[in-house]
Amino acid sequence: MISFALTDDQQTVRESMRGFAAAALRPKARECDEAAAIPDAFYEQAWELGLVATQLPEAVGGYGAPRSPLTNAIVLEELAYGDAALALAAVGPALFAYAVADQGTAEQQQAYLPGLCGDRYQAASLAVAEPSPTFDACAPRTTLERQGSGYVLRGSKCAVPLADRAGHFLVVAREGDGLAAAIIARDAAGLTIRDDKTLGLKALPLATLELDGVRVAAGDKLGGSAGADVGRLLAHSRVAIAALLTGLGRAVLDYCIPYTKERVAFGEAIARKQSIAFRLAEMQMEVDCMRWMTWKAASQLEYGHDATRAAHLARTYTADKGMWIADNGVQCLGGHGFIREHPVELWYRNARTLGVLEGLASV
């Protein structure tokens, strides 16, 4: 069926997320970016929304709402409309939680999910990206090898969100010719965590994990000995990033519209010049297209189809257009677009950063 209709629940969620983004994210975005830090209070405030726990099974302390990539895509677009870095801080633990809930063994769910359903903010994260110039999420250099009763992880991961506070990490690695994901604790021997300083998403804690022969217990390979569908896990994260870029793109457009209507040059509002007006029209076209590409992939995940292709195309498309929109946002503001008094320069950095990272969020 071809339908773009939100359910009543989805409409409610969208409205509340829109409100939260306007009240708690957008106003803090600049300050957090300049400080390259997010106040602990924000983590707790976001936690109270139960964003992570909602879709986790009641058996582990979640609210037991059905897992919905579509609903999550809507949530992420709205939060990123406020600020992408704060949005990622708010939903970060879902990276780990959804993966374990979707593909973990019963034991893994019991062992790791209850902690993520408590009253206080609890972080856990996913490690996908690697600092290689030819990084390919589907061909990681990090390896998982059998050793004795368990496994051992070797390699390095970068841009791992919330690594400063995550209790556990789900690490994507190559196992033989295939892919696997393994759970390790932050205090695992052989694991060193080093903060990453980045172009964008500065407020979000990101770090490099050096995995120098980190031991993984037999039971800590995601999905157990059967393993997990890591491709599907990556698809969830790609659709999430596509949703974030859609929200960012919409933020740029909505900022440029009033600005260009007020800004006067050569005797009239610059929005009345075709060169600006047509650019805004193009931005609107692409924000829409980004959303539909995201929804298409999300609806394939939602209804259990193979989303590899759709997620890949959505990711590529939103990375390109998100960058294009942010770039033109800066141009619409001219000199002011280059100054840190306006958010467009922040969106310019965040768009490029989101466009090249993997494993930042999950739907």
Partner: protein, 390 residues
């Protein structure tokens, strides 16, 4: 509930559409090379072929709405060819105008005719307010004088809905549409134009010389001239909201044919297009193909969105323009890119891809150019009037 996957029932239906389209495709080259001829109303194969309408059957729960389905069917048909059909479609743009703005009696009287629509004139591109064709009331008749160009299906239609002004001073408010049937004295149909593409399509030029038609051939019978405001103009403009997603779909069907042909050719040559792995270590051809594919998919979804809104009975003026504008540029990018991918073989007329490259170029031009669509989009999001943003 959001769902962008087709139902099995709709999949079946569209498969039948494509089956017919593949048969029609056999005739595509012939009518491209022989542009003075028209494809038959019905192909020889039609007699042994039930036609997809027969397989339409009952719509089931979970099937797409009619506007969406009409769009997808159009896409499936042009995946075969722009002009050649197993059976000729029974409607022109004028029929949409009749439905949108005609009186009940007019709909009864002309509903079963094939009606073209004549808007553009040599002097005016996409600016309808420049219409010079005049309609003068003389007793019980309207007397039409003027010229029209780019009239789609203008040669073979039974009649036409003509835009003419009854009072140039009134501007857009003075523009009305009139029904003129073929054979009316003073209504001259010039030869079809020689074009870059869609050559089998008939695009006519009309001349009206003191062409007299009965008074009640005024569409909607609203003779009042609205000063200032757009007035009766609105009625005819409605037609555009219905046609823009269709025009987008028509172009996208051909772009999809180009993508499918390219994917097959690359595969045969040993270049497999895969998904999942990012940029690196992939063949450049596969990566470029995926970009074209993404552009096509985005335009397709924007078009479905506009049609879906129509199914919901919601206004889709903005979305119809987005679909038209996005498809207009996407089909160019896709067909240009596919030929680049395939290289020298693709410019040979032994294959149809060079024809698709020519045919899709009309998409961003007719029924309101890409520039006009962007004007509409910009005005909408900026909240500007026609005068504030020109």
């Amino acid at each position: 509930m959001i769902d962008l996957n087709l139902s099995p029932n709709d999949e079946r239906l569209l498969a039948a559409v494509r089956e017919e389209a593949l048969i029609a495709r056999r005739y595509a080259r012939y009518y491209d090379e022989n542009e003075h001829e028209f494809p038959p109303d019905q192909l020889p194969e039609a007699k042994d072929h039930p036609g997809f309408m027969s397989t339409l059957g009952q719509r089931e729960d979970g099937d797409a709405g009619m506007a969406v389905m009409t769009t997808l069917i159009a896409m499936g048909q042009t995946w075969g060819d722009y002009s050649v059909r197993m059976r000729r479609q029974e409607r022109g743009l004028g029929n949409s105008a009749l439905q949108a703005a005609g009186t009940e009696e007019q709909k009864r009287k002309w509903g079963d005719k094939i009606l073209a629509m004549a808007i553009t004139e040599p002097g005016c591109g996409s600016d309808p307010s420049l219409v010079r064709t005049s309609a003068r009331l003389d007793g019980d008749h309207w007397v039409l004088n003027g010229e029209k160009i780019f009239v789609t299906t203008g040669c073979r239609a039974d009649g036409v809905v003509v835009w003419a002004t009854v009072d140039r001073a009134a501007g857009r408010g003075g523009i009305k549409s009139f029904l003129v049937m073929k054979g009316t004295p003073g209504f001259i149909v010039a030869h079809k134009e020689k074009k870059l593409g869609i050559r089998a399509d008939d695009t006519a030029a009309y001349v009206f010389q003191d062409c007299r038609i009965p008074r009640d051939h005024l569409l909607g019978n609203d003779e009042e001239v609205h000063r200032g405001g757009s007035g009766g103009f609105k009625g005819v403009m409605k037609t555009f909201n219905m046609t823009r997603p269709m025009v987008a779909a028509i172009g996208l069907g051909m772009a999809e044919a180009a993508l499918d042909f390219t994917r097959d050719q690359l595969r045969e040559a040993g270049v497999e297009v895969t998904y999942g792995s990012t940029l690196h270590n992939q063949p450049a051809a596969a990566e470029k193909f995926r970009r074209l594919e993404a552009t096509f998919e985005a335009a397709r979804l924007a078009t479905l969105r506009a049609s879906w809104l129509a199914d919901q009975g919601e206004s889709n003026n903005l979305e119809a323009s987005i679909a038209k504008a996005k498809a207009g540029s996407a089909v160019r990018e896709v067909t240009q890119g596919c030929i680049e991918l395939l290289g020298p073989m693709a410019i040979s007329r032994d294959h149809l891809i060079e024809k698709w490259f020519r045919d899709v170029r009309i998409t961003d031009i007719y029924e309101g150019t890409g520039e006009i669509q962007r004007l509409i989009i910009a005005r909408t999001i900026l909240g500007y009037s026609r005068d504030e943003l020109k």
